[in-house]
Symmetry: C2
Subunit: 161 residues, 2 copies
């Protein structure tokens, strides 16, 4: 049957419109700039960076490749733990690869949001795989997806239409 003007056949509930629309959005469309520091940086300087950039997590690199993540929670735990914050490198307290949960530009934003919920984390580094000179694989950090990213998208979807 030829659809009439002004009508369209849906065969769908309004909910399936929502999930379809959401599933089309990619991490690449929504990622924000990552905040990255070297693993030799002191914990104290890491905390200063956290406040200056106003982020909840910092990505840690060595020779430009992702080696870990430090969250506001990690910093707070160690700030009251008696460590010398100015002399201890951030590498000591970070969550280290391969235990870092990551996302990629071509992943759907829904899958990224599910990782945030499932792993109870605030932030995901967006990475691209690169091959090092010795043939091993490593990650370059190209962005950041957080619960703020998702909340902002939710607000846009709710106000659209």
């Amino acid at each position: 049957a030829r659809p009439k003007v002004g009508y369209f056949y849906t065969g769908k509930t309004s909910l399936s419109f929502i999930s379809e629309k959401i599933q089309q959005i990619k991490v690449a469309d929504r990622k924000s700039l990552p905040v990255v520091i070297d693993e030799e940086t002191s914990i104290y300087d890491g905390i200063v960076t956290l406040f200056l950039e106003d982020v909840s997590s910092i990505f840690v690199t060595s020779k430009g490749c992702l080696v870990g993540v430090v969250s506001r929670k990690d910093f707070l735990k160690n700030a009251i733990g008696g460590l010398n914050l100015s002399k201890t490198p951030i590498g000591v307290i970070m969550t280290r690869m391969p235990n870092v949960i990551v996302t990629t530009p071509d992943e759907s934003i829904l899958d990224a949001a599910m990782k945030l919920i499932e792993h109870e984390i605030d932030s995901l580094p967006v990475v691209e795989e690169i091959t090092l000179e010795d043939g091993s694989l490593a990650y370059k950090v190209v962005g950041r997806i957080t619960k703020t990213t998702i909340t902002r998208l939710f607000v846009e979807l709710g106000n659209d239409g």
Copy 2:
């Protein structure tokens, strides 16, 4: 015109389905349990509560009524600031009423999410207004809405349908 079976007239884009659906959801449908401490509690005990309950903000009350909010960020700032954490009450470092942004059970979750984004905060106390014996108004804390609440809802909408 009479709609045909299997077709329905929408006059809407699929985006307006999304915003309509989102706008129907109330704070009351989604709020989680609040974590509340008295303003005389020490900062140190506040930090311990934050970790035990695994939340990013704590609501502060006096005689059962909301007087302030302390976030993980407030704790971190003061943890490295040289205060005596065990002897300083949390009331000293909290964001104090009337500067606390709140939501109510009958507000839409979309409006609550917009407050999180606009005020750059992680968490909103859900409050009910009560009248004190002297006739003044105060807030009782009945719940909590966070960016995690919104991210979880986003994941449900994306997987529904």
